[in-house]
Subunit: 139 residues, 2 copies
DNA sequence: CGTAGTGTCCTATCGTGATAGAACAGTAAA
DNA sequence: TTTACTGTTCTATCACGATAGGACACTACG
């Protein structure tokens, strides 16, 4: 499925769901008109309390990204795409900035920070390539 | 003073204090034998509850980074430097990884992520340069 | 001595994120 | 209609971070 929860992320579960829905809409994985997983279904899949999913969906509905069809489910609105495309970069940029600011205030040289980032970035690339290649061999 | 609190950081206040003490020790800003600000003093300076500082200092003491001199204060231990130097990169790397992982799972291209990071990194460099140059002119 | 500064410990309250479990109204299909 | 889904709402409980305010033992200084 599209969503997954990372407990060590630093983000609240409901917030992770909110962001992942937005990202999925922004990337076209979740097109307008498409229905999101039902509250109980997603809660079960993520091994999370239904009320946590409810909160995430309620926030997304309040932002106009999802709309309720009573008795049927929640689907992605038409305006959602533009909204989410714009917000995706903002949300990610904000988090990136916080981390880089902490690294900088720890008196690390910019070069050392860049090295750390590049290191983790290539690690990500290798992981993605490995996944596409079907073989998940890791150290 | 050395420490500052960022409310939008995503980190708990006590955790920010813990990390900043470690970073200060790692960078030599806080050498062994040096005393950290008193609980009440730091709490006042950060506009934070004394108990929050207590928790941070208690954690640092439990890790052997600070040691108490009864009736006098807390000072940095001898072993702290090596400990903190090693942990600084680990702590930062971990946070960086989480952010990059979220960016990657949002289906952003590695190149786009790299661009975002580079963007914020140069922004940091410009800010630091501006500060050193005394003039804080910003757009 | 007393005073002022240390760290330490304690109880209590608050907000928030998360869990648990129940109930209700609406829709779809057999 | 009945059944099985939807979202929505509600109360209760818990953990955790933070706040507030008080108390105690110790040390340094005058």
């Amino acid at each position: 499925m599209f969503f997954s929860i990372n407990p060590t992320n630093g983000l609240a579960i409901f917030d992770q769901i909110v962001r992942q829905v937005k990202f999925a809409v922004a990337s076209g994985t979740l097109p307008p008109g498409e229905m999101v997983p039902s509250v109980r279904e997603l809660a079960k899949e993520l091994a999370v309390n239904p009320n946590t999913v409810v909160k995430a969906y309620r926030d997304l509905t309040a932002e106009g990204i999802l709309e309720a069809v009573r008795g049927t489910g929640l689907n992605v609105t038409e305006d959602a795409v533009a909204h989410c495309e714009k917000e995706r970069l903002t949300l990610l940029r904000e988090r990136i900035r916080h981390v880089l600011e902490e690294a900088h205030s720890s008196r690390l040289e910019t070069g050392e920070i860049r090295e750390l980032v590049e290191d983790e970035l290539t690690r990500l690339e290798r992981a993605a390539k490995g996944k596409r290649g079907k073989k998940g061999a890791d150290s």
